[in-house]
């Protein structure tokens, strides 16, 4: 099921260029959640390049970016794959463009509209169950933000996913621990523990480093049961740019010119 030719080294190179592309775009429009995209970037790259099945160059598996605000990570990966052509990102958030701050269903590579948190899990459960009804052998990869675990609808649907025995559903949580308001363990200490909560809802649950391509790539193979799989991926919000890392102010802020230059230098050196 996985791409045997997947190279960790190439993924690392790609993620450098993805980050640079995102920073470049951040200089043309201010509307962007760059930090949330940086925390999910390695996972999105590995999912598309390493995990999702392809048939005649078209993906047969599905990826949903439930944390719609992190869509810039998905956009740059889709661009690098040639699914979104360059014009789409060049016109990001402009009056001539079609791509905005949240993914819209119907655009190339975008299989559902997301952006309002707590919706992705329901859509994913419905799609994964439909694949079982239609007897289609396909996996559904879902990317949740950790903040979405504060939405009751996410838990309602997690309960349904296990009740429906959706072994074809694989969910990554971008666990960067940081939200718009602040650091989650400070604002909501009882948000934790996560793993026990998830397991008690009938999911198999793993914990990995969400920036380590090797761990991301091998995580899916570690699945031992027929339950839906939840991977808590520990990440750093703003990963790759030191002054953006884990600073709530960067949840929705673009770097100024000087910050942009500094950020590019850091990414080059990493």
């Amino acid at each position: 099921m996985k791409n045997k030719k997947f190279s960790i080294y190439n993924s690392k190179l790609r993620c450098k260029s993805h980050r640079k592309r995102i920073l470049d775009i951040s200089q043309t429009v201010t509307a962007m959640h760059a930090a949330g995209a940086f925390s999910a970037l390695e996972m999105v790259d590995v999912i598309y390049y390493g995990l999702m099945k392809k048939k005649k160059k078209a993906f047969t598996d599905t990826f949903l970016m439930s944390k719609g605000h992190g869509c810039m990570a998905q956009y740059v990966v889709l661009e690098s794959l040639g699914i979104l052509n360059r014009k789409y990102l060049d016109n990001y958030c402009t009056k001539n463009g079609k791509l905005g701050c949240h993914p819209d269903y119907g655009l190339p590579g975008i299989e559902a509209s997301t952006g309002s948190l707590g919706h992705g899990m329901g859509l994913a459960v419905g799609m994964a169950h439909a694949d079982i009804i239609n007897k289609i052998n396909r996996k559904l990869y879902l990317m949740l933000s950790d903040g979405e675990l504060q939405e009751g609808s996410t838990w309602e649907n997690m309960m349904m996913a296990s009740n429906l025995n959706l072994k074809n559903l694989i969910c990554f949580i971008d666990h960067n621990g940081s939200q718009s308001f602040g650091i989650t363990k400070e604002t909501h200490p009882n948000f934790y523990p996560l793993k026990q909560k998830i397991s008690s809802f009938g999911w198999e649950c793993l914990e990995i480093n969400g920036h380590d391509q090797k761990e991301i790539f091998s995580s899916v193979n570690k699945k031992k049961t027929n339950k839906p799989l939840m991977i808590i991926a520990n990440t750093t919000k703003g990963k790759g740019v030191s002054f953006m890392e884990n600073k709530p102010i960067w949840h929705y802020r673009s770097p100024n010119k000087d910050e942009y230059k500094l950020a590019l230098l850091e990414i080059e050196k990493s």
Binding site: E111, H119, A128, A130, N134
Partner: protein, 309 residues
């Protein structure tokens, strides 16, 4: 209506393999039970989790299926409102939300179980279609449309149980998006939707017997998209229009017709009987509740008598 709904979906589902049913902890009696037994994968009970019901249905529709989501109207529409707006309407998916026991039907269950403003809420969402059949016969046509033809989300507003059939040999054929003449007449035009059509026929009978007034009764079953073309024709033909609805005066049939009357410079009279913009804090049978909001056959009749010479 609810049993008939299940019968039709079950019948249709044997040929149409895309049909699925999602319920939120509502008991699967009759044909619903048969459906579940025959197509266990195509029937999902999400439990008391309406947001989940809509979200999952949207996901299934994204994969080409045609789900029906079914529960008591207030929980089918209000509780998962944002899932309906974003997952269904924004993505324009062919999912039918069946709201059962609408308006004041659940008259003993209190305000939590009443849907006084559901049409108004549903109509205001882009891409949403709203159908409210007047009797089981009309519902059959509407459900068949939802099974096979609808291309967008539908809010299907139905009654509960024991509704009488009013459609007769003189009725027009049912057509999605069209005002349907249920019974022809010449002096007064009644516009209504849903099972409250019963009152329209009671008023018609009184007017004809006591005042020799010929009354036309119409079912405006499709509240969105609305048939403005036929409405314009009614404005031309009649100088008196009576609207009866088991729905708030805000955003329902009366507000729709009255705003159109202004646009079309209608010079006739419009009498409307809608629910007030107030919650209902009383119990009893449905007529008791409607009467609290001044909707009763005698009140309608008396008002017309005062105003029609």
């Amino acid at each position: 209506m609810r049993n008939k709904l299940a019968d039709i979906i079950y019948k249709k589902s044997k040929k149409n393999k895309k049909l699925c049913v999602l319920v939120a902890d509502i008991s699967p009696a009759g044909s619903m039970y048969q459906f579940r037994k025959k197509f266990p994968n195509r029937f999902i009970n999400t439990g008391v989790a309406e947001q989940s019901m809509i979200g999952i249905a949207a996901g299934m529709a994204l994969r080409g299926l045609r789900p029906f989501c079914y529960t008591i109207a207030t929980f089918a529409l209000y509780r998962p409102f944002e899932m309906i707006r974003v997952d269904l309407c924004y993505q324009n998916l062919p999912v039918t939300i069946v709201g059962m026991g609408t308006g004041t039907i659940y008259s003993t269950l209190g305000g939590t179980h009443l849907t006084q403003e559901d049409i108004s809420v549903a109509r205001s969402i882009p891409n949403m279609q709203v159908i409210a059949p007047c009797d089981p016969s009309e519902m059959e046509d509407a459900v068949k449309y939802c099974c096979d033809k609808s291309k967008s989300p539908v809010y299907l507003r139905i009654g509960k149980a024991g509704e009488k059939v009013f459609v007769n040999k003189k009725s027009d054929k049912w057509q999605f998006g069209k005002i349907r003449k249920i019974y022809p007449g010449n002096d007064l035009c009644i516009l209504t939707f849903g099972p409250i059509i019963k009152k329209a026929f009671e008023v018609k009978k009184l007017l004809e017997e006591k005042k020799n007034i010929s009354v036309e009764v119409n079912s405006c079953h499709t509240l969105k998209p609305f048939d403005y073309y036929s409405l314009k024709k009614k404005f031309k033909k009649f100088n008196k229009i009576l609207i009866i609805e088991d729905h708030s005066k805000i955003g329902g049939l009366a507000s729709l017709v009255k705003s159109s009357a202004y646009e079309y410079s209608y010079k006739g009279k419009i009498f409307s009987f809608s629910l007030k913009d107030e919650f209902i804090h009383c119990y009893g049978n449905q007529d008791d509740l409607l009467d609290k909001h001044d909707i009763s056959t005698s009140k309608i009749f008396n008002k017309l008598l005062k105003n029609i010479k």
